[in-house]
């Protein structure tokens, strides 16, 4: 019977065509598992973070638990130099990492977009660190940076630097050392995305530009870059959020040290909640981090006129 009805029905656009046999509840049944998981393990935790940010809550000091009002926030903004230090470091980390990854990623994508012998192999090799986890990246660079048998030993062998140098435990070298380690893994991410977008640039544009005598630099500036704009805006934004939140690498590579030199805000939050059990205060810091992320993302999208009148 249902088949006959389906045949008799005139063809209609897919959206409209809800087969009569389909219960109205079906889409809700289908999204129910996903919705329940996300409600229980994302929405509820987020709300509880907001709730605890207004509370004094420390399981090891239950006698002080209770409503705190905005106390946690005033504590963070006016009495906690570590909050400002870690926030500043987070900003510095994100800007330097995303900026350099974009720069090298763009250059790399332009290079492997050319036709040359060995291109497939070259691409596979330069992209390979992309799949390496943060912890494994740390393992690799701990081996490279270790003071006894790391790269500094072999540099010292040829007269560069001195034996026993440990870049990760010196406050003046730890930042560049960590940046390089994260770049190693992060550059391929940008290179892959930009390379994918480069495939869709119309080659006629370049030919026309060439006929008009535009230099290669001008072609890059006026054709390639505008074409890539949306991809660049989106990937830098995603990457910035990701770099801000990512704790795997710094946690395992430097542990936030030496002397708290490389502690990002999320690392500080993790320490506050896990080691110091100060859940209320950690929740307030988390709320601040949320707001900062959201605000910066919106400002960035607005300033870059994402999806705007390019091309």
């Amino acid at each position: 019977m249902a088949q006959a009805a389906a045949v008799a029905e005139p063809p209609a656009p897919p959206r409209r065509r809800r087969a009569s046999a389909t219960p109205r509840r079906l889409p809700y049944l289908l999204i129910a598992p996903a919705a329940l998981l996300m409600l229980g393990f994302i929405a509820y935790p987020v709300l509880s973070v907001f709730y605890y940010s207004l509370q004094n809550y420390n399981p090891t000091k239950p006698w002080r638990n209770g409503f705190a009002g905005l106390g946690n926030f005033t504590q963070a903004f006016s009495h906690d130099p570590q909050f400002w230090d870690t926030l500043t470091f987070s900003a510095k980390w994100v800007v330097v990492e995303v900026g350099l990854q974009l720069l090298f990623g763009l250059a790399l994508a332009l290079i492997v977009n050319q036709t040359f012998v060995g291109r497939a192999l070259g691409r596979a090799l330069v992209f390979s660190p992309w799949a390496v986890s943060g912890v494994l990246t740390s393992v690799i660079w701990v081996l490279l940076y270790n003071s006894q048998t790391g790269i500094t030993r072999y540099l010292a062998d040829v007269g560069m630097g001195s034996y026993g140098t440990s870049w990760l435990s010196d406050t003046s070298t730890v930042f560049p050392a960590a940046v390089v380690a994260d770049l190693w893994r992060g550059v391929p991410f940008f290179a892959i995305l930009i390379l994918a977008d480069l495939q869709s640039v119309s080659r006629d544009l370049y030919e026309a530009a060439e006929v008009d005598g535009a230099s290669r630099l001008k072609q890059f500036w006026h054709i390639t870059l505008p074409h890539l704009k949306d991809a660049i805006v989106l990937s830098t934004l995603l990457r910035a959020v990701w770099e801000f939140n990512n704790v795997d690498l710094l946690y395992t590579l430097t542990g936030g040290g030496p002397a708290g030199e490389t502690t990002t805000l999320p690392l500080y939050i993790a320490n506050t909640s896990v080691d110091a059990h100060n859940f209320g205060y950690a929740s307030a810091l988390t709320t601040v981090a949320f707001v900062i992320l959201l605000f910066c993302s919106m400002v960035y999208l607005r300033l870059s006129k994402f999806g705007g009148e390019t091309k």
Binding site: Q3, M38, F41, A120
Partner: protein, 294 residues
């Protein structure tokens, strides 16, 4: 690993169809301008890989820059003495369970998003997008409390759920894009032939989704395999830990056994390399299809 990563068929066609002109085209950059920077960058990429192989394969205490004579003592030590055999099994369990759970749940949700109009759809899509900005690392404490209430601390299930939940939004958006690429008329034709919705989906749509599902599933696996923080927080029992946690333990020891650490790192990398080598072709086609229509 050694396959073309992003094939551009239409470009190859246009290149061969168009007769070469006398002047240099855009992509005819002097060779040295390609090979020189590429070699420098390759050096930067490959030396770290070589370094970990070197430490894993040369005998303890050796300072030779060539791993010769090759020894596998570090692998034996890390696998049995340092418990990487157990960690490996745990990581495989977490990875596969996350893969299955993410793919099945995202497939159901993605189908609803692609094929139905329903009242809550816009709100649901918005929630999916917003969840991309919610950092898992900042939700550790409430998540820990939830799993404690469910008495799931120290059970691998807690990590599977946490990894799945943070993989779901993107997976669902991607899969709904893949499903939208499958013409609805194919399904309707199957209904006419007497299939119900589920059978029609299984016979007609599912085979066409294969590249996309492989991409999403392998991504979920690799992510769960690599991710560190949830396992570190929710699993305190040594017999329950995963490989990244094991690596962290090796690294934070007072005197780090570099050979064992390198061998452990290679154990951690092998499945990822295998997965990527195996699915590379599927991965790029799957993702580009989803990204365009997503």
């Amino acid at each position: 690993m050694i396959t073309e990563i992003a094939p551009a068929p239409e470009r190859a066609v246009s290149e061969s169809a168009r007769p070469r002109r006398g002047h240099r085209a855009w992509d005819e950059v002097p060779r040295r301008r390609i090979y020189l920077p590429l070699s420098v960058y390759l050096l930067f990429t490959l030396v770290p890989f070589y370094w970990i192989l070197l430490f894993a394969l040369r005998p303890a205490g050796s300072t030779s820059l060539v791993p010769w004579p090759v020894t596998f003592e570090h692998f034996g030590k890390v696998w049995t003495d340092r418990g990487f055999g157990t960690y490996f099994a745990n990581s495989v369990y977490v990875g596969l369970a996350t893969l299955v759970l993410t793919t099945v749940v995202a497939l159901a949700g993605g189908y609803a998003l692609a094929r139905f109009d329903f009242r809550a759809k816009r709100g649901f899509m918005l929630a999916l997008l917003c969840s991309q900005f919610v950092p898992g690392a900042l939700l550790l404490v409430p998540l820990f409390q939830i799993f404690a209430k469910l008495s799931m601390i120290n059970s691998l299930g807690s990590v599977v759920i946490a990894e799945t939940v943070f993989q779901l939004p993107l997976s669902m958006i991607l899969i709904s894009g893949f499903i939208r690429n499958v013409p609805y008329s194919l399904e309707e034709a199957a209904w006419v032939d007497g299939c119900n919705r589920l059978t029609a989906f299984r016979i007609v749509v599912l085979p066409l989704l294969r590249p996309g599902l492989i991409a999403v599933g392998s991504f979920a696996f690799v992510h769960a395999w690599n991710h560190f923080l949830f396992a570190l927080m929710f699993l305190s029992d040594q017999g329950k830990q995963t490989i990244p946690v094991g690596l962290n333990t090796l690294m934070s020891a007072d005197s780090v056994d570099l050979g064992a650490l390198a061998a452990g790192g290679i154990v951690a990398a092998v499945p990822v390399v295998v997965v990527f080598a195996f699915i590379q072709k599927w991965l790029i086609t799957g993702f580009s299809a989803g990204a365009v229509k997503g």
